[in-house]
């Protein structure tokens, strides 16, 4: 089973990388970009087909390691 965990910075946490990317996009002439915040995507393959079990495992993975819950949020999606 394929899944995706997306980890993003909590609102309010300063993101200098996101700011640098905004600036670079502007210099490249890409219009209309108001703001950019950089996050991480983890593409994960799980054994088995039990959706509930998978979600629980992914949440566990995110809480324990993939996200630093002091400064980051996460979202879990099962892709089938």
């Amino acid at each position: 089973m394929k899944a995706r965990v997306t980890v993003t910075l909590k609102t309010g946490i300063l993101d200098p990388q996101g700011k640098a990317i905004e600036g670079a996009l502007k210099s490249l002439g890409v219009d209309g970009i108001a703001s950019v915040r950089q996050g991480k995507v983890f593409d994960i393959e799980l054994a088995g087909a039990d959706k509930a079990k998978a979600e629980a495992a992914l949440k566990d993975a995110a809480d324990k390691l993939l996200a630093n819950t002091v400064i980051e949020n996460y979202r879990v999606e099962l892709l089938g």
Binding site: I13, L14, P16, Q17, A20, K64, L65, N68, V70, I71
Partner: protein, 233 residues
């Protein structure tokens, strides 16, 4: 003073630290592999040195913080043992929950290696008794992720409880944006835990303990720890 230096894959300043500890204490430090589940008997000080443990993958210090040996370190700290984390070590201690906050990417996004000045805020702690309060010392930094951040409440507590021990400043001791090399909140370079026995700092005092490096301001930190242990003995 018996010290133990933790070695995770990718740590690279363990020898620098071992040399500083030997010079200060006269003893060889024990090198403890990350897979160990206990610390050497009689350890007085645990040091988490600098480097790029696990390649800084995921987040700096994230994987090292979850290594087997860290449980032993947590127990040791809970019992009041002294723990010093430098650079990657500071990052590991934050990820391990032994210190609050997090170290993020330097504000100007580039790795910085240069000498900086630090103001020693208090001298009545094991980690600063080798200095006078308000003393300005010069030590090198070498990091890409030294920007200390924590929520407002945590920062208030840290300041209120006098737990910021080292702060970036100019040569004359002035704290401000001009001297804040990485954008750290409140120019914080080093903080101590609630109980005062766990210190995390970004700069490298262990690289300024010999004349050859042009400055020996780092000695005070180690001498102070030795003195503290001797007094307790």
């Amino acid at each position: 003073m018996k010290s133990a230096v933790l070695v995770f894959p990718g740590i690279n300043r363990e020898r620098d630290m071992a040399r500083a500890l030997k010079l200060a204490s006269g003893n060889e430090t024990a090198m403890v592999w990350h897979a160990e589940t206990s610390l050497p008997a009689g350890t007085d000080l645990v040091v988490v040195p600098g480097g790029f443990s696990y390649g800084d993958y995921l987040r700096c210090g994230a994987i090292a913080a979850r290594a087997p040996v860290m449980d032993a370190v947590r127990d040791f700290a809970a019992k009041g043992g002294l723990v010093l984390g430098v650079c990657n070590g500071f990052q590991i201690l934050c990820e391990a929950g032994l210190l609050p906050g997090v170290l993020m990417r330097n504000a100007r996004l580039k790795f910085i290696c240069k000498d900086v000045h630090l103001r020693v805020e208090r001298s009545n702690t094991p980690f600063t008794r080798g200095y006078n309060a308000g003393q300005v010392i010069r030590v090198p930094v070498a990091h890409g992720e030294g920007n200390y951040e924590a929520d407002e409440e945590t920062l208030k507590r840290l300041e209120g409880e006098g737990r910021v021990l080292y702060r970036y400043c100019s040569a004359d001791g002035a704290v401000g944006e001009h001297a804040n090399i990485n954008g750290a909140a409140h120019s914080i370079a080093g903080i101590v835990s609630e109980r005062g026995n766990v210190l995390g700092m970004m700069p490298h005092p262990e690289n300024h303990v010999e004349d050859i490096m042009g400055c020996t301001d780092g000695r005070g930190l180690f001498a102070g720890l030795v003195a503290h242990m001797d007094r307790a003995a």
